[in-house]
Symmetry: C2
């Protein structure tokens, strides 16, 4: 028994906190692909695509551990089922959409596991911003128009849980990518304009980025919420805001049927 | 002949603008790995690791097309040798360190190729920030301390080519990752403090992230430049600034021998 009262470290399983990338299984890393296809236990979030879940061997145990809205925000980050496996000496591949350290609660999961002396490996993944940029042909930086990228959540100052207002979370220049941005797009776009971005700033909403079902719209910041509504884009979606959107080029994206509204740009 | 006076599109090669990730070949995407290992021509930057170049088949032609300091900044983005191959109908895998759309000139390369009606596919890659965060055990976001991430270059307001001052490129809150940050670290750290970040903000410098030769230091913003100098960290290096650095945990990183100076944190 260790001081923490659970099994000794040499009997514990390892946890591989693995980024599943934006959706297309081809965009898993080589390491992630190997871990998923040879896993005995895979615990996955709601954001991991069915195409990637299809890579899990039939012999492996699958655990859906995604948190739904309304889950107690103070609940431990590591799902009790995952912890139970690990403390019984079983390795777990913990698959998280995108990159495990970008939004989601990967940092908290790693912290909790480290406190229990569980060995953790972090396998980075392609975060949604980069998957969407690639299929949309939108460079996230460009010498002429953008010298940086900010990844933020699409909360607004009216959301008590969101922390600082968007003006403190987004700089005055450069590309902004909003995660989980679809449902609050109208408020977020208004907040960005209020924070100093021009209403004519080009913006793109990309739903189900990198999957064959990817759909997108492009408009300016003042009208992007209307455009996304008219196109009935579903979630998860991300929003790219900045002059780089106007510098996009048509790229070959074999898996994706991109529907782009170029009405205003 | 097309209107632009070169061969017609159906005789042109395709360009795969491929992110090579941070360095570890295991962190290539599955798609990137397949393209590199089956390529006939690979054109690569100086930032692509020798470990990844070793994956190129012996039968493939290798073209080192990295730009050195002092290259004419107004030179076309696509290297003339690459263009020559493509216009002669040969597919080219264009390998770029990290993600092709994050810094570097990937956007300009895609633009130039699109203007010539050359089919381009963008294969996203793990950008250095995410590779370094994973091996360092630093969550880039954390509900308690950071609601966003800004990727910026480490230029300062004193650099005429850098565009806006860092205060306009970095928000007042959240995690900041500086690319190409080693040589100007002292000036950039001072500029961040001047822009409102506390001198006690934790910071990490990570050189050769994800490679076996990775080395790193951790200190506060006021002393990080001294710490990096004492540790004689080489380049390329990235700098992570923010309270998340203090929330890092020890993670299992089989390939990496991480040397961390925890003097002040």
């Amino acid at each position: 028994m260790s001081p923490s009262g659970v099994f000794t470290a040499d009997r514990r399983g390892r946890v591989y906190l693995v980024g599943a990338g934006p959706g297309d299984p081809e965009l898993l890393t080589v390491r992630a692909h190997r871990l998923v296809t040879t896993a005995k236990v895979v615990a996955y979030d709601a954001l991991v695509s069915p195409e990637i879940l299809a890579l899990i061997p039939d012999t492996a145990e699958r655990l859906a551990v995604g948190r739904r809205k309304g889950t107690d925000p103070d609940a431990p980050a590591v799902h009790p089922i995952v912890l139970d496996k690990v403390l019984r000496g079983i390795d777990v591949v913990r698959l998280k959409g995108g990159d495990p350290y970008v939004f989601g609660r990967g940092g908290e999961e790693a912290e909790q596991l480290a406190e229990l002396d569980v060995a953790v490996e972090i396998v980075p993944g392609i975060s949604a911003a980069f998957g969407a940029a690639a299929t949309m042909g939108i460079p996230l930086t460009h010498r002429d128009v953008s010298a940086g990228i900010t990844l933020a959540t699409a909360h607004t100052r009216h959301d008590a849980d969101a922390g600082p207002p968007i003006g403190a979370r987004v700089p005055s220049e450069g590309t902004v990518v909003l995660y989980m941005g679809r449902s609050t797009l109208r408020e977020t776009a208004a907040a960005l304009i209020e924070a100093g971005r021009s209403p004519s700033t080009p913006a793109a909403v990309v739903a189900r980025a990198t999957l064959p079902s990817q759909r997108s719209v492009v408009a300016d910041l003042a009208t992007i919420a209307d455009a996304a509504e008219r196109a009935e884009l579903d979630t998860p979606a991300i929003v790219i805001v900045g002059e780089v959107v106007a510098r996009r080029v048509t790229v070959r994206t074999p898996a994706v049927s991109v529907i782009t509204d170029v009405r205003s740009l």
